[in-house]
C-alpha cells in the first residue's frame, strides 16, 4: 500500500541525461601515491580517527585507493591503482532509503547531496551504497581531547583546528558524510562566473584531488559540455564505469588498460 503523501524518489535517470559534473580517472597513470586522499582530507575537514578506530574500519577518508593482488609469486601483479570516491550516481541507491531526506539528489548540480543538518545517522545510505564510499562519524573525532593542549587557564586548545576550511561544515558525531565533488569549489566558481556574467566553463572548477594529482590522472569537468575533456574521456573506449550494471549511472569514468590500447 502506498501513501500518496510520501514524495516519490526523484532521482530517476532519464535516457540521454549526461549529468552535470563528472570525473575521469586514468588508471594507467594513477601511481597510487595517495596525494588525492591527503588533499581531499585537508580540503574537506575530514577528521583522522587513530590506529584503533581505523582498525575497526572507521577511517573517515572520502576516497580510497584500491589495489588487489593477482597471481602468485613470481608472476604476481597488482591490479591498477584505482581511486574510489562517491560516484555521484545519476540514479543513486543511497537516496531512496534515507528516511529523513538527508541524502537527496541535487537537481541543478546533478550531485548526490548529504545534508548534514538533516542527517540522523541511520546509516541506511551507507548500507545501500554499492561502492562503500560513505563514511560515518562514529565519534567527535576532531574534538577528542587527546589532540588538545591545555592553555594557562586549563582550557583545551586544539591547534589542528586552525586548519579547518571555513567553506566546509565541520561534521559532528552521528552524521554520515561522503565526497561532494568539492561542491564548495563548484559554488565558488559558479559565483565567480555569475559575477562576470558568464557560464561556468571547463577548467573553472578543480576539486582538491584533481588539483593535487601529480600524474594528472584525475580530470574533472562538465559532463553536459560535449567538448569538455571529461566528456570526451567518459565516451572513450577505455572508459568503464564501476558497477554500471546496477543501473546507478555513475558520473566517474575509469580509463582502464594502456593509454594506447596496447595493454589488456
Amino acid at each position: 500500500m502506498s501513501s500518496p503523501k510520501i514524495p516519490e524518489f526523484k532521482a530517476e535517470w532519464k535516457e540521454g541525461e549526461a549529468g552535470r559534473w563528472g570525473l575521469a580517472i586514468d588508471m594507467d597513470l594513477c601511481t597510487g601515491c595517495q596525494a588525492c586522499v591527503a588533499a581531499c582530507s585537508m580540503e574537506n575537514n575530514v577528521p583522522f580517527v587513530g590506529e584503533k578506530e581505523s582498525g575497526y574500519g572507521r577511517q573517515m577518508a572520502w576516497m580510497r585507493v584500491e589495489r588487489l593482488w593477482e597471481g602468485q609469486y613470481p608472476e604476481v601483479k597488482t591490479t591498477p591503482f584505482q581511486p574510489v570516491m562517491c560516484q555521484q550516481c545519476g540514479s543513486a541507491p543511497c537516496e531512496p532509503v534515507c528516511p529523513v531526506f538527508a541524502t537527496v539528489h541535487a537537481e541543478a548540480e546533478q550531485l548526490n547531496l548529504q545534508v548534514y543538518n538533516r542527517c540522523v545517522g541511520t546509516r541506511y545510505c551507507a548500507n545501500n551504497c554499492p561502492y562503500v564510499v560513505r563514511v560515518f562519524n562514529w565519534a567527535d573525532f576532531a574534538i577528542n581531547p587527546i589532540h588538545a593542549n591545555p592553555d594557562k587557564d586549563g582550557k583545551l586548545v586544539f591547534p589542528l583546528h586552525n586548519q579547518f576550511n571555513p567553506d566546509v561544515t565541520v561534521r559532528r558525531r552521528g552524521v554520515m558524510e561522503k565526497c561532494t565533488f568539492c561542491i564548495q569549489r563548484i559554488h565558488k566558481a559558479e559565483d565567480q562566473a555569475k559575477s562576470e556574467n558568464r557560464e561556468v566553463v571547463d577548467g573553472d572548477v578543480t576539486p582538491a584531488c584533481a588539483q593535487a594529482c601529480p600524474a594528472d590522472a584525475i580530470i574533472f569537468g562538465r559532463l553536459d559540455d560535449p567538448q569538455s575533456r571529461v566528456s570526451k574521456l567518459s565516451q572513450d573506449k577505455r572508459a568503464v564505469h564501476l558497477l554500471e550494471e546496477l543501473g546507478t549511472q555513475p558520473r566517474v569514468s575509469y580509463l582502464s588498460g594502456g593509454s594506447h590500447g596496447n595493454l589488456g
Binding site: 609469486y73 543538518n117 593535487a212
Partner: protein, 707 residues
C-alpha cells in the same frame, strides 16, 4: 623576526583560534558569544573572509616543490602546488598536502628552552638569553652544523658563518640520502659522464625505462617531478617500465614488469643486459665485456631467457633510460653497480641529462655520505667539537644506531637543537631554540633535480609565527654580532638573490631589488625560461666494468630490505593524517610491519599480524608480519619512518625503526652498504593486529576459517 617582516602589518592580527571556535560550536546560541578576532590593521588588498594566497616552498623533503598556501583571516588552511614552479607545476604529494599538520601540530615546541639531556620537558628561556648561548658557542669556535638535506639559504648562511669562524663546513644529511645513496650516485655519474653533477632522467620522452630499485614514484630524488615525467611517458608513447628489485615497491606495482632480482645483483644484471643488448645492436662497448651472462642469471635469480628478452627490448627501444635507485647503490658493490646501470644509458643519447647549475651558489653541495657522518662522529668522540648545532634533521632517529651517534653526542659539551618538534635529538640536546616551521619562514632552496630550468624556489611566511619561535638564521646572525654583513635573514636572502636581478633568461625581469623581490615572492622563486640541461659527454665506457657479487653481511636467513615509507618518508610520522593514510601497497596505517612472502610465512607458520623478532648483528626488534605476495621468498622488508621514541604524540611509541638493525659498513663511495644485510626471523607467541584498509578476508585466504 626581521625588521622587514614586522613592518608588514598585514600579518599582524590577533588570536587565530577564535574563528575556529566559530566553526566548532555548531548551531545554536553558543555561536552568538563566539568573539571573532578581527584585524587591527587590515591590508588594503584583502577583505574579511576572503582568502589570500602566498607562494612558498615545501619543506617536507628536499625536492624544492613550490607551494601556494591559501590563508584565511591569518590562518593557513590549504596547501596547493605552485603552478609556476617548474619542479612540480602545481602538483603536490601527500606529504606536501599534510604540511599544515606540521605547522599546527599540537606538539610543537613553543618557546626557546633548556633542560637536562633526556628530560621530556624544557624550562623556557627568553630569546636574548638564547642568543647569548649561541653567541658564546660561536665565539668558542669548535662548533659544527648538522643540517637537513635541503640545499637552502640556511645551509649557505651556516657555510659562511663556519668560514668566518674558521670552523668545519656544515654537513647536510637525512635518512633519504642514505636510502638513495646520493654520494654513490654522484660518484658513479662522475665515473661515467665525467662530472659529479646531478642527473636528470628524461622519462617524458623515453619509450623504455629500466629502473633498478629506483622508487621514483615514492621518495626518490624528486617524486612529484618524476611522477609527472612518468605520466608523460605513459601518455606520449606508452613507454614500457621494467623494475628490478627484490620487493615490489609502489613504483614496481606501476611497472609493466617486475623482475625480483636477488639483492645486490642489480649491477650484474645491468652489465648482462648491456652485453646482450650490445651484441644485438652490433655495438662494441668494452664496458660490458667482462660479464658472464649465465653466471649473472645464476647469481641474480633471473632466468637467462628473461635477460635475453629484456635485452632485446632494450636494443629495440629508441629512447631507453636506465635508473640507478638507492638500494642497488647502497651495497658494498654499489659504486660499480651504479656505473653499470648508468652505462646502459650509453645506448642512446638524450635519456640522461646533467641538471642545470643552481641559480645561487652555483656549486651544488650534495648531502653528506654516511662516511662523512662517521667522520663527524669520530670528531665528536675525540672531543674536537665543543658545540653541535642541529637543524632540520633528527640524527638519533635517522642514523643507524650502530654508528654510535648517541654515544658521541654525549661527548659534545653543548648541543643546540633548532627543532620545531620535540624529536629524539632535541630531547638529547641541552638547548632547543625552535625555528619557525617552513610555512612561517623566509628563505630559498635550490632544486637539485626534477626540473630542467636553473631554479631557486623562494619561501616566505604565509602566516605570522604561531608560537614564540625565531628564525634560526636570525638567531645566528644576531649571535654572531656583526661577523657577517647581513642585518637579518631577509637581508641575507636578498643579498643572495641580488645577482639574479639583471639575469637575461629569467622568466620575470626586474630593474631593482624591490621589484625583483616583490616578484620573487609573488611567483615563489626565480627560474630561467628555458631548460638548461646539458647532454653528458660521451660516456667513459672504454674499460670493462666489474661488479662483484656483494658479500653477505650477517648470519641470518633473509635479506633485509629497508625502504623509506612512501607516505611518511623520514619526518612525516608526527603528522596524524599521514599516519592515517594507508600505505599504497599494504594499506597499513599508523604502524610498522614486516613484509614476508606468504610461502616463507607458511614455512615458518606465520599468519598476518603475528609478531616476530628480527635479529641482525647490530640489533633486534619486534614487529608484526604482513604476508606480502610480491617479495622474494629470501627477503623480508621493513619500511623506515616509524619507531620514534619521541617526536610528539602521533609518532611516539609507534612501530619500529629499522635503522636500529643496520650496520656501519660503507661502500667505496662512502655510503652505507646496508642492502646485503641478512637477518634472522624468530617467531614469538605474540600477535599485534595491524590497522589496514584492505579487507583481510579473501586476500590469499587470510582470515578465512581453515577447517
Amino acid at each position: 623576526m626581521t625588521d622587514n617582516f614586522s613592518r608588514r602589518d598585514f600579518l599582524k592580527l590577533a588570536g587565530l583560534g577564535a574563528a575556529t571556535a566559530t566553526i566548532l560550536t555548531g548551531c545554536g546560541p553558543a555561536s552568538r558569544y563566539v568573539v571573532r578576532e578581527p584585524y587591527t590593521k587590515m591590508p588594503e588588498y584583502t577583505y574579511n573572509g576572503q582568502s589570500t594566497f602566498y607562494a612558498t616552498t615545501c619543506r617536507e623533503c628536499a625536492a624544492a616543490c613550490g607551494l601556494v598556501i591559501r590563508t584565511h583571516q591569518g590562518r593557513a588552511i590549504k596547501a596547493e602546488g605552485n603552478p609556476y614552479n617548474p619542479v612540480n607545476l602545481g602538483k603536490t604529494c601527500a606529504r606536501g598536502q599534510a604540511s599544515l599538520q606540521g605547522l599546527y601540530n599540537p606538539d610543537r615546541i613553543q618557546n626557546p628552552g633548556q633542560h637536562k639531556r633526556g628530560e621530556k620537558t624544557f624550562t623556557d628561556m627568553d630569546w636574548d638569553a638564547a642568543i647569548g648561548v649561541v653567541g658564546k658557542a660561536l665565539a668558542g669556535g669548535d662548533f659544527a652544523f648538522l643540517l637537513g638535506t635541503a640545499p637552502d639559504h640556511l645551509f649557505d648562511l651556516a657555510g659562511e658563518l663556519s668560514k668566518a669562524y674558521a670552523a668545519a663546513a656544515p654537513l647536510r644529511f637525512s635518512a633519504l640520502a642514505v636510502f638513495e645513496a646520493r654520494a654513490t650516485l654522484g660518484e658513479a655519474a662522475r665515473a661515467i659522464f665525467g662530472k659529479p653533477d646531478n642527473l636528470f632522467f628524461d622519462l617524458s620522452n623515453a619509450d623504455l625505462v629500466f629502473s633498478f630499485g629506483a622508487n621514483f614514484l615514492e621518495t626518490w630524488l624528486s617524486p612529484v617531478a618524476y611522477t609527472r615525467e612518468f605520466a608523460n611517458m605513459r601518455r606520449a608513447k606508452r613507454g614500457y617500465l621494467v623494475q628490478f628489485e627484490p620487493r615490489m615497491s609502489q613504483t614496481a606495482a606501476k611497472a609493466d614488469e617486475w623482475i625480483p632480482v636477488r639483492p645486490g645483483t642489480e649491477g650484474l644484471v645491468a652489465l648482462a643486459l648491456g652485453k646482450l643488448a650490445a651484441e644485438i645492436k652490433g655495438k662494441v662497448l668494452p664496458a660490458f665485456n667482462g660479464v658472464d651472462v649465465a653466471a649473472v642469471a645464476e647469481a641474480s635469480g633471473v632466468e637467462q631467457a628473461t635477460l635475453e628478452r629484456l635485452a632485446q627490448l632494450f636494443a629495440a627501444a629508441e629512447r631507453p633510460v636506465a635508473l640507478p635507485g638507492g638500494a642497488p647503490l647502497a651495497q658494498s658493490n654499489g659504486l660499480e653497480a651504479g656505473k653499470a646501470i648508468l652505462a646502459l644509458n650509453a645506448f642512446t643519447s638524450g635519456g640522461v641529462y646533467l641538471t642545470a647549475p643552481a641559480a645561487v651558489n652555483d656549486a651544488y653541495h650534495r648531502p653528506a655520505s654516511l662516511k662523512e657522518m662517521a667522520a663527524l662522529i669520530e670528531r665528536m668522540n675525540a672531543g674536537k667539537i665543543k658545540t653541535l648545532f642541529v637543524h632540520g634533521v633528527n640524527p638519533l632517529f635517522e642514523l643507524p644506531r650502530a654508528l654510535g651517534f648517541r654515544e658521541a653526542l654525549e661527548k659534545v659539551p653543548t648541543v643546540i637543537s633548532f627543532a620545531s618538534f620535540p624529536d629524539e635529538t632535541a630531547l638529547a640536546a641541552d638547548y632547543v631554540f625552535p625555528d619557525h616551521t617552513g610555512l612561517e619562514s623566509w628563505g630559498y632552496q635550490r632544486a637539485a633535480t626534477g626540473a630542467g630550468q636553473t631554479l631557486i624556489s623562494g619561501a616566505q611566511p604565509v602566516i605570522a609565527p604561531f608560537y614564540n619561535t625565531r628564525a634560526t638564521a636570525d638567531v645566528l646572525l644576531a649571535a654572531s654580532a656583526g661577523k657577517l654583513p647581513y642585518a637579518d635573514e631577509v637581508a641575507f636572502v636578498q643579498a643572495q638573490v641580488t645577482g639574479l636581478i639583471g639575469a637575461a633568461d629569467g622568466f620575470f625581469g626586474a630593474g631593482d631589488l624591490p621589484s625583483f623581490w616583490a616578484q620573487f615572492q609573488q611567483f615563489g622563486g626565480w627560474w630561467t625560461n628555458d631548460a638548461k640541461l646539458s647532454v653528458p659527454e660521451t660516456p667513459l665506457l672504454d674499460k670493462a666494468l666489474q661488479v662483484e657479487a656483494p658479500p653477505v653481511q650477517g648470519e641470518g636467513e633473509f635479506y633485509l630490505h629497508v625502504f623509506p615509507s612512501p607516505i611518511l618518508a623520514e619526518a612525516g610520522a608526527n603528522k596524524p593524517w599521514l599516519q592515517e593514510i594507508p600505505d599504497p601497497m599494504t594499506t597499513v596505517m599508523w604502524n610498522s610491519w614486516l613484509e614476508m612472502n606468504p610461502v616463507t610465512a607458511d614455512e615458518l607458520g606465520l599468519l598476518d599480524d603475528d609478531v616476530v623478532q628480527v635479529i641482525s648483528p647490530f640489533g633486534m626488534l619486534e614487529v608484526s608480519v604482513y604476508r606480502y605476495p610480491a617479495i622474494r621468498p629470501d627477503t623480508v622488508a621493513i619500511p623506515f619512518g616509524q619507531g620514534h621514541t619521541a617526536y610528539g604524540r602521533y609518532a611516539e611509541g609507534r612501530g619500529v625503526n629499522p635503522a636500529d638493525l643496520l650496520g656501519g659498513d660503507f661502500n667505496s663511495a662512502g655510503d652505507l652498504a646496508f642492502s646485503g644485510l641478512k637477518v634472522q626471523i624468530k617467531k614469538t607467541d605474540k600477535k599485534q593486529t595491524l590497522s589496514r584498509l584492505e579487507s583481510k578476508l579473501g586476500v590469499y585466504g587470510i582470515g578465512e576459517k581453515k577447517e
